[in-house]
Assembly symmetry: C2
Homo-oligomer: 227 residues x 2
DNA sequence: CGGCGCTCGTGCACGCTTTCACAAAAGCAG
DNA sequence: CTGCTTTTGTGAAAGCGTGCACGAGCGCCG
């Protein structure tokens, strides 16, 4: 029997949201039961990996049958802490911050924007997707008022560390960083970084390699169909 | 001596842009020479890792001294294929697509938006950050006209596969996918996925764990200062 | 010009991740 | 109830990535 309260390897944690989304989609299409094989196909991964990932949650499949979508959805939600909505606060109401504030994908998947702040007086007061941009000073008030624990840094690189410091001072314990800067934070704070330009630079590397392909590489063995 | 034209492990490729950014920053601050130790500190990683990563490029450091910033910048740029600008085309001019089109970070780091397309007639014709939103049908024209090889999918999930198909049909060989959907593409096409909600869900998992911390975990050994 | 101190480059061991392969279990048919 | 099919759950092996530890090379100082 699998462990039900163990620490799940990070690699698996990252895939759980993918499975979750697929399961929800399938369930909405009246698919009640799904095999690891099928789920793997939809997620673009190996079936054994799916089974191992799911086994960290517990033993929720039925041999010879597969996984009951609805039940599995519940279990993944529970494990990911998605049984309730999480408020998030966004620092930086530039291009990206505003897009994030208005991004429908958040609310659909368990998050809502409790507030967005910026330093720019010209922006403060404007309303984005129904949310008023507030002053940076109001950060602490927003965080404590809504019991926010997740902060999003969407500032330019040179303001990112300051934004992070303020978030942490306000009580935030998880940060999603979109600024192209390495944040230095206490060990108790979890940071995840998303760097848009870095992603393009990685693609650039593979394109570059493709050009310099006077080498071994058969054709495109670099990566297959992917996540 | 290190290999100079080998395949670089993906994990290293992902860190190179980070080093690059830091090196540029340092060089602009008149730092001509930098040790792996210092670079590691700024990048939030282990010094041995930095040296190993850089060794894939070749043997460009000087023992007892460190790395010459300017030269290393050039070498990383060369390896990543950033010696010239790459045009990219964006599919989807919603919230996110528009933010990406206007995002300064791209142009600063070797990319420019050759075009942005959408299906919505109401959006077509509008100008975002100096770029006119064009019809989806014009995709092929944009791609061939500017010799674009990198495409960005910024559509809703249900339109993502179609967007990818069209990009590939137009000749795109690398895709950056922001839609919460798994794209199925030929093996020769490289896809990278950025899923904003997934990132938050991962943070949610660690927050959830924190609450359920009646367990082993001392305090916050989950992750230290991070990327 | 020899010795010393510093930092790179990398072999090696360890730990995490992926994948394979198969026994165990469930359903179904007769 | 027995045997057959299907699919899970998981040991074990293989593959990667990380970090330590140290030899090798470089510069500097006397």
């Amino acid at each position: 029997m699998a462990q039900s309260r163990r620490r799940i390897p990070e690699a698996s944690v990252i895939r759980l949201p993918v499975y979750l989304r697929i399961l929800i989609e399938q369930f909405e299409q009246q698919v009640d039961n799904i095999s690891s094989e099928r789920l793997a196909e939809l997620a673009g991964v190996n079936a054994a990996k799916v089974r191992k990932d799911l086994s960290y949650l517990g033993s929720y499949g039925t041999r010879g049958v597969g996984y009951e979508a609805e039940y599995l959805i519940y279990q993944i939600r529970r494990e990911l802490g998605l049984t309730h909505d999480w408020p998030v606060v966004i620092v930086g109401a530039g291009n990206l911050g505003q897009a994030l504030a208005g991004y429908g994908g958040f609310s659909e998947r368990g998050f809502h924007v409790a507030g967005i702040v910026d330093v720019d007086d010209n922006k403060i007061g404007s309303v984005i997707a129904g949310i008023r941009i507030r002053a940076l000073d109001e950060l602490a008030k927003i965080v404590s008022g809504h019991e926010v624990v997740i902060g999003v840094v969407a500032t330019p690189a040179d303001a990112a560390q300051d934004a992070a410091d303020r978030l942490i001072a306000a009580g935030i314990t998880s940060i999603l960083n979109f600024a192209p800067a390495v944040l230095s934070v206490p060990a108790s704070v979890v940071v995840r970084k998303v760097d848009l330009a870095t992603e393009l630079q990685v693609l650039s590397y593979y394109e570059q390699r493709r050009l310099t392909a006077l080498h071994s590489v058969p054709t495109g063995s670099t990566r297959g169909a992917s996540a």
